[in-house]
């Protein structure tokens, strides 16, 4: 399970690196979004393999050692919420950039910088 998650994290990071090298701002943003998901998965892998363990919901008569470590999940939840907000902001920036420049191409934007 952990191996699978690690491979998945690698794939996500690789895909996001590829996307971040794109020529359009859209692709770059998608790359950043994927990177966030990769990071979240990496944290999930930290909580150990969940095989044979119960979800971390406290109930009477459950041995605490049978539960999965809940803290990484809490961390991921927070990171997801923050990522959610940041993604919305980034999308808004793209929309505004489009409105001002009528293009999302990095090359054109960089050229406009010089003038």
């Amino acid at each position: 399970m952990n191996l699978l998650i690690s491979i998945m994290v690698g794939v996500l990071f690789g895909a996001s690196a590829f996307l971040m090298l794109a020529r359009e701002l859209k692709g770059v943003c998608m790359g950043v979004f994927l990177l966030g998901h990769g990071a979240n998965l990496a944290i999930l892998a930290v909580s150990g393999t969940p095989a044979g363990k119960l979800p971390p919901v406290l109930a009477y008569g459950v041995d605490l050692h049978e539960l999965v470590d809940p803290l990484p999940q809490a961390l991921i939840l927070t990171a997801i919420v923050i990522g959610f907000a940041v993604q919305a902001l980034l999308l808004t920036i793209i929309v505004i950039t489009w409105r001002r420049h009528q293009t999302l191409s990095m090359a054109v934007l960089a050229e406009e910088n010089d003038h």
């Binding site: 950043v32 999965v68 803290l71 961390l75 990171a79 940041v86 920036i93 950039t97």
Partner: protein, 537 residues
């Protein structure tokens, strides 16, 4: 100030943000309410400083009453209190400037909530005792800064905005990945708990690369040598006041966190310092020298100032590097950290002040390109005087605050026999003076040209802005003439950072505090067995 009141440093700016959000249609009310909250904040910061400094005590509060390594801890020690006090004063001055100089549309309905939220993020990172909360605080601070960055959405701003946002996002993602891995290795994210593990020399060997990687995370935020490329391109597009706020607070938060993490938390772990210390010292030299060379080559006031931020970060890095170099005597380490803290405080005030000055120069002359302006000395003698004091202070001339920060750092460098970095630091100071004199001679002395010559009938309203600058200059002067007072506070802070057992005891309680292990020759092989028990697995 009692223990649990320190949470006010988070609550007050947040309440300010909420209140101004409710009032987003009423500009005057927003201003007055905001100013009230900021003044209250300064008051509480001074109270905290007055409580903490005389006894060197540490105020700790556990959120929700959950005990330390499990719950969220916030703690105010001397370093935090100093940063809070100076930070809140800088914030207030920038606020004053914004309110007096900005047009109404630039302030918009949501500038004020974002301003308070930015302050919330900054203050939270100053007082948090928990790594993950540091991440959250950073995110709040950055999110507010993105929003402030985009206010006005002018073409030039939007071109740079996505660069700034994307690079910071990369840094944040790296940070959160590091945090996950650290939790996997150490089973805790509480700063005091990690300090305890480092002091007992129990860091598992596998955690060391991850902890070292944090240099890159915080280095990106602080703009150290290989990671500073984003800064000079972005800051100069901002309105001057916002540039001043970012220059005065955001990079300094990075520097503060680096001191907290690498000097206090990990400074006792030899395995980490032997990698980080040489890196920091080398980067310090390159950062300060390249930064100042960039500043000398620029010809726009805001560009000079923004690339100067990088050069100044070099001095802070030098202090940190000296403080964790193996083989340096403890008293010299304390000297170096105290110097770095003094320098950060001085830089927060002066850098922000210079940015505000550049804003008023633009108000008068209509531009900040040094080729197109001149003769501002006659037009605005007060501005010229204040600018001169701040600029000389930045360059480090004797009775002013910059001199003392540099003096302490240089003497620490001399006494620990790091002559190369010391000589680079001295050279950098000379170039700093050169670049400041460039602004002075082109902007204030050279034959008059610019808007104030072409359209002399237009008199910009600059009284409020000048007052804001004057307050900051007064602050800087007090740090220069009262250097002994400030330095002794910095020294108290430095002492508790070099020997963090008091911090650990305050947060974790008496029971969990280990005896200090000084340069323990225990071999690394025993680490894995003695690694702390993890909560899971």
């Amino acid at each position: 100030m009692t223990q649990h009141q320190i949470v006010l440093f988070v609550v007050l700016p947040m309440a300010g943000g909420i209140a101004t959000m409710f009032l987003h249609r009423f500009h005057m009310a927003q201003r007055w309410v905001g100013a009230g909250f900021l003044l209250l904040n300064i008051y509480f910061a001074c109270m905290a400083l007055a409580t903490v400094v005389p006894t060197g005590s540490i105020l700790v509060s556990q959120m929700g009453n959950w005990p330390a390594p499990f719950g969220i801890t916030i703690a105010v020690d001397t370093l935090s209190a100093l940063m809070l006090t100076v930070g809140s004063i800088v914030c207030f001055c920038v606020f004053l400037y914004c309110v007096c100089q900005f047009d109404r549309d630039q302030q918009g309905g949501f500038f004020h909530p974002m301003f308070h939220m930015l302050m919330l993020g900054v203050q939270w990172s100053f007082i948090t005792g928990d790594f993950f909360n540091l991440f959250v605080a950073f995110e709040i601070m950055l999110m507010a800064s993105y929003a402030i960055f985009c206010i006005g959405t002018s073409k030039a701003q939007m071109k740079q905005a996505y660069k700034y946002v994307l690079l910071n996002l990369l840094g944040s993602t790296m940070f959160v990945t590091c945090l996950g891995l650290i939790y996997g290795q150490l089973g805790t994210l509480n700063m005091a708990d990690i300090t305890r593990i480092a002091m007992a020399d129990q860091l598992p060997k596998t955690s060391i690369p991850i902890l070292v990687m944090m240099v890159l995370v915080f280095g990106g935020k602080t703009a150290i040598f290989p990671l500073w490329y984003w800064l000079p391109d972005t800051y100069h597009t901002l309105p001057s006041a916002i540039g001043g706020l970012f220059a005065g607070l955001l990079t300094k938060v990075g520097a503060y966190v680096m001191i907290r993490v690498f000097v206090m938390m990990l400074g006792t772990s030899q395995a980490i310092t032997e990698i980080v210390a040489p890196f920091l010292l080398v980067t310090a030299g390159i950062t300060m020298f390249l930064g100042v060379l960039g500043a000398v080559s620029m010809h726009t006031v805001r560009r000079i100032l923004s690339i100067h931020i990088i050069s100044q970060v070099g001095y802070m890095l030098m202090g940190m590097g000296l403080a964790i170099t193996i083989g340096v005597k403890p008293e010299i380490k304390e000297l170096a950290v105290a110097g770095a803290i003094f320098f950060i405080l001085h830089n927060m005030v002066v850098k922000c002040c210079l940015f505000l000055c550049s804003g008023l120069m633009i108000e008068h002359a209509g531009d900040d390109d040094l080729g197109k302006i001149g003769g501002l000395l006659k037009r605005a003698p007060w501005l010229a005087t204040l600018f001169m004091i701040a600029a000389l202070s930045l360059a480090g001339l004797p009775p002013l605050s910059g001199f003392f920060g540099k003096w302490v750092l240089l003497s620490a460098g001399f006494r620990s026999e790091h002559y190369i970095v010391v000589s680079i630091a001295v050279l950098t100071s000379l170039f700093t003076l050169l670049s400041m004199l460039k602004i002075w001679s082109y902007g204030f002395w050279s034959p008059a040209q610019g808007k104030h010559v072409d359209k002399p009938q237009i008199l910009p309203r600059t009284v409020g802005g000048t007052w804001a600058i004057a307050l900051l200059v007064l602050m800087s002067l007090s740090m220069g003439f009262g250097a002994q007072k400030y330095y002794s506070m910095c020294a108290t802070a430095a002492k508790s950072l070099i020997d963090p057992s008091a911090y650990v005891r305050a947060v974790l309680g008496e029971r969990n505090t280990p005896k200090r292990v000084l340069n323990n020759p225990v071999s690394h092989k025993t680490h894995v067995q003695s690694a702390p028990e993890k909560i899971s697995h």
